[in-house]
């Protein structure tokens, strides 16, 4: 045997036995939750034209895509994310009558991330998309669905952090900051690097008032009480509207009785302007990054010729498993396997017994003595 071929490439792995059953169980538990909210299954191709992803992805992260060519020389990409594919599919078939459309997906995504950082290149994602509904009730439904999905797999200590880039955008707009400078500042705010953001603003002669306001954005993390404070220090409509919307959203979330999982973070900004309104991340102990991410992306479908509001989220199943294992949360599986041993003489009788047990839903292994 060629022993060199026994290990997998970097960033992918085998999954078997209990771990594999755990993953299947997690997926079915979350899928059942999504179904209970009326979401329908959708599956899109594993690879698509590069252009499907080009609108949402900057040059830098385009390097992280797995790319190859088809026979005609078109650039193909292994999907790094389901949302653009779902958006393409939905805008093609489902948006004739402007009714809300609910879809959930479950599958693998691929990112050629840097080597030696301990990150998987193949990830299992489960997600849901709600299109054609721009109300806060849609926002709340998605956040509640995320909370219930995480509860369904047994997580109890987690936090959903909600932000809205419009608060920050409103301040930048009022201050008259150019798009280029704004992008530079945004990168620093996303990293919570207030002093670097301040330095950029100083170089660009932005007035002290706005410097203070923008700096305060990155530290606006906490429970619903921060919204009032954040709302009171801004005067422009765009920022105030975003705060009002978040407050209204919080009220609806209270009706769902999930307020103990909710916190707000106005410094949560997306790097590529992909999200257009509310954004949310789910965090828990034992994983270094968010285990689920989502938000509103009202402009994405427009790229496929059909303008419609949309909101969605995805849960990284591999991260959820890591969180469960590190928090010592056990998933409840059905009974274990029954082993029946037989000899040449009593095979027929043992087989009959095994078949009977199997029909009754038991797992049976026949093993020769």
């Amino acid at each position: 045997m060629n022993r060199k071929l026994l290990h997998t490439p970097e960033g992918v792995r085998d999954l078997y036995g209990l771990e594999c059953s755990d993953r299947i169980l997690i997926r079915s538990l979350i899928n059942a939750k999504m179904k209970s909210y009326g979401f329908e299954d959708i599956d899109t191709p594993t690879f698509e034209f590069f252009d499907i992803y080009s609108t949402e992805i900057s040059n830098n992260s385009a390097r992280e895509l797995y790319k190859f060519f088809d026979k005609d020389g078109n650039t193909m990409v292994l999907r790094p994310d389901f949302t653009p594919s779902v958006a393409r599919c939905v805008s093609k078939y489902f948006l004739e009558d402007n009714k809300p459309v609910r879809f959930c997906y479950d599958g693998k995504t691929f990112l050629n991330t840097h080597s030696l950082q301990g990150k998987l290149k193949e990830n299992n994602e489960i997600g849901a998309e709600l299109m054609n509904d721009d109300s806060i009730y849609a926002d709340a439904e998605m956040i509640a669905l995320l909370v219930e999905s995480l509860q369904a797999v047994g997580l109890t200590e987690f936090q959903i952090s909600i932000g809205d880039a419009d608060y920050y955008n409103g301040i930048c707009e009022e201050a008259g900051i150019s798009a280029e400078t704004e992008a530079e500042i945004r990168e620093q705010i996303t990293n919570r690097n207030t002093f670097a953001a301040d330095l950029i603003m100083e170089e660009n002669n932005i007035s002290d008032k706005y410097r203070q306001l923008i700096k305060s954005v990155s530290t606006c993390i906490g429970d619903a009480s921060i919204l009032e404070k954040a709302g009171s220090i801004v005067t422009n409509d765009r920022s105030q509207n975003s705060i009002k919307r978040l407050q209204a959203l919080y009220k609806v979330l209270c009706s769902y009785k999930i307020e103990k999982y909710i916190s707000f973070d106005l410094g949560m900004l997306s790097k590529f302007n992909y999200y257009t309104g509310v954004m949310f991340h789910a965090y828990t102990y034992g994983v270094g990054d968010a285990i689920a991410k989502g938000g509103r992306y009202d402009n994405l479908l427009e790229g496929f010729g059909k303008s419609a509001p949309a909101i969605g989220f995805m849960i990284n199943v591999d991260d959820v498993m890591r969180a469960l294992y590190s928090q010592h949360i056990k998933l409840e599986h059905e009974d274990g396997v029954v082993v029946l041993s037989f000899t040449d003489d009593d095979f027929e009788a043992t087989l009959a017994e095994a078949q009977k047990l199997r029909e009754g839903g038991k797992k049976v292994i026949l093993s020769k003595k």
């Binding site: 950082q117 990293n191 002093f195 973070d265 102990y285 270094g288």
Partner: protein, 215 residues
């Protein structure tokens, strides 16, 4: 796991930053004398009263520990943060450990930096060097990774220039080299894991504010 029982873990970059950092933490009322005790062979130090843990790690590893959540908070030089480019929050400039990232070489190499011709650059910081030459200067360069005594590069003709940290410039002068271009100023920074920032937001923000006030 109860929230109150959870330890916050600090990863500190080994070397000259450690003493400054511990002095600052002392001023904030956080004591852990063991960390600066050279004779101990312990790897991890605990402050039971405040539920804090500390460990020392090689500089470039600090952002890695923090990114994965193995440490909640890290203290490390800006040079390392730039070179490693991990997704962590960079929340505070501590102001000590000040120095500069520079392009250095013999005076004769200055001319080479004004053209777009290919030059050879030796550095311990290949990512910073690449970013500077490709994205800021748009110059084609051949980057040679070295692990120490980078000043040797131009002297033994391995490279035309080097990209390295300059503190006083005395090593450069002794070897006939000089600062040709400054890339950016550097100092010690506090970095925080993204999840910790959300899950332990109150405790961490208090720590950061305490540190800020005692700078």
């Amino acid at each position: 796991m109860n929230k109150q029982d959870r330890y916050l873990t600090f990863a500190l970059g080994k070397g000259r930053l450690v003493n400054n950092t511990m002095e600052l933490l002392e001023k904030c009322g956080i004591h852990c004398e063991e960390v600066t005790d050279k004779s101990t062979r312990k790897l991890i130090f605990t402050n039971e009263e405040l539920k804090l843990k500390f460990f020392l790690a090689k500089g470039p590893d600090v952002p890695t520990y923090v990114e994965h959540g193995a440490a909640d908070i890290g203290i490390v030089g800006k040079d390392t943060i730039m070179e490693e480019n991990r997704s962590v929050y960079e929340v505070l400039d501590l102001g000590f450990g000040k120095c500069r990232m520079c392009v250095c070489g013999p005076e004769s190499a200055r001319e080479l930096l004004n053209h777009h011709e290919m030059i050879r650059v030796a550095s311990k910081y290949p990512n910073i060097a690449r970013d500077y030459f490709y994205n800021r200067k748009n110059q084609t360069v051949d980057i040679i990774k070295l692990n120490g005594s980078v000043e040797l590069g131009p002297i033994v003709n391995l490279s035309d220039v080097i990209v390295d940290i300059v503190e006083t410039g005395s090593t450069l002068r002794e070897n006939g080299l000089t600062v040709l271009e400054e890339i950016c100023p550097l100092s010690a920074r506090v970095i925080v894991n993204q999840v910790s920032m959300q899950m332990e937001s109150a405790r961490i923000q208090k720590l950061i504010n305490d540190m800020k006030e005692n700078l």
